[in-house]
Symmetry: C2
Subunit: 159 residues, 2 copies
């Protein structure tokens, strides 16, 4: 992975979009995950909390789903912002996405006390929809695969 | 829905299986969801916390995925325990399941401050695998649909 740490897209969202339990920088109880470009892939890392267990010693699958979900919408935001000519922190407010569907295949039990890395490949599949395919690693072990279909957030969503 | 409240399967798991962030009764930071039979369907209700938002006013999709995930494994446990001749609280320790795959279709934004109800239909699809199809309602509005493929927990999973 690249040594240079690029700006996380979540750190550039407008304040009104920064309360998400999974990735909002203003949600103090939330996960506050951060998603960045590394070359043509998107990367999110997260160290689960002690309470995020399925059974003692193994990480809770709903947490994996949550990370892959937010990683998906953030990856689409990164990709559309880049398509528009901008890297995170440049240009206008970045676009925001909502999840249309989420699919997770759980491949292996995920041990606790290991940092997780989600690596995404983003593809535009429709003028308003993007597909994000994610691989979730615990250290070097592929533990889960995800697919998120995400759509540009309707303007009616924010009052 | 039936007025009689039957025993939640999570309240009958052995202590070693009762730490799940989504449904473990011993996980103080967790969601502690409870899943019960109502006739031939399985039901889980949950009132999201204030911090479980996507944007202010709407519930976080990762929470919906988490509820549907735990509702799925619990529904399969209820169903196999019933197939073995027992209702929750009766007979031997109930079986425990792990999630093989999780699929969610998000149909409508889910408002905050509304109790959610997941209703599941359970089907055995293989000697060790069950499929749980879930509809998630906010009051009477269908907001999401989920499908969980869940497998009997391998004996090697617990040391």
């Amino acid at each position: 992975m690249a040594e240079r740490i690029s700006t996380a897209i979540q750190d550039t969202y407008d304040e009104k979009y920064s309360w998400c339990y999974g990735c909002g920088r203003l949600n103090e109880q939330g996960l506050q995950i951060k998603t960045r470009w590394e070359g043509e892939e998107t990367v999110t890392t997260y160290l689960p909390r002690a309470e995020h267990m399925a059974i003692p010693g193994f990480v809770y699958g709903g947490l994996i789903a949550s990370i892959i979900d937010c990683h998906g919408t953030a990856s689409a935001a990164l990709a559309l912002h880049r398509k528009n000519g901008f890297e995170p922190g440049e240009g206008p407010e970045p676009p925001r996405f909502v999840t249309a569907s989420l699919h997770i295949d759980y491949l292996k039990p995920i041990p606790q006390n290991v940092s997780l890395t989600a690596i995404g490949k983003v593809e535009e599949i429709h003028p308003k929809k993007w597909q994000v395919r994610t691989e979730m690693y615990a250290k070097d072990t592929l533990c889960a695969k995800g697919e998120v279909i995400t759509a540009i957030m309707p303007k009616t969503f924010i009052k």
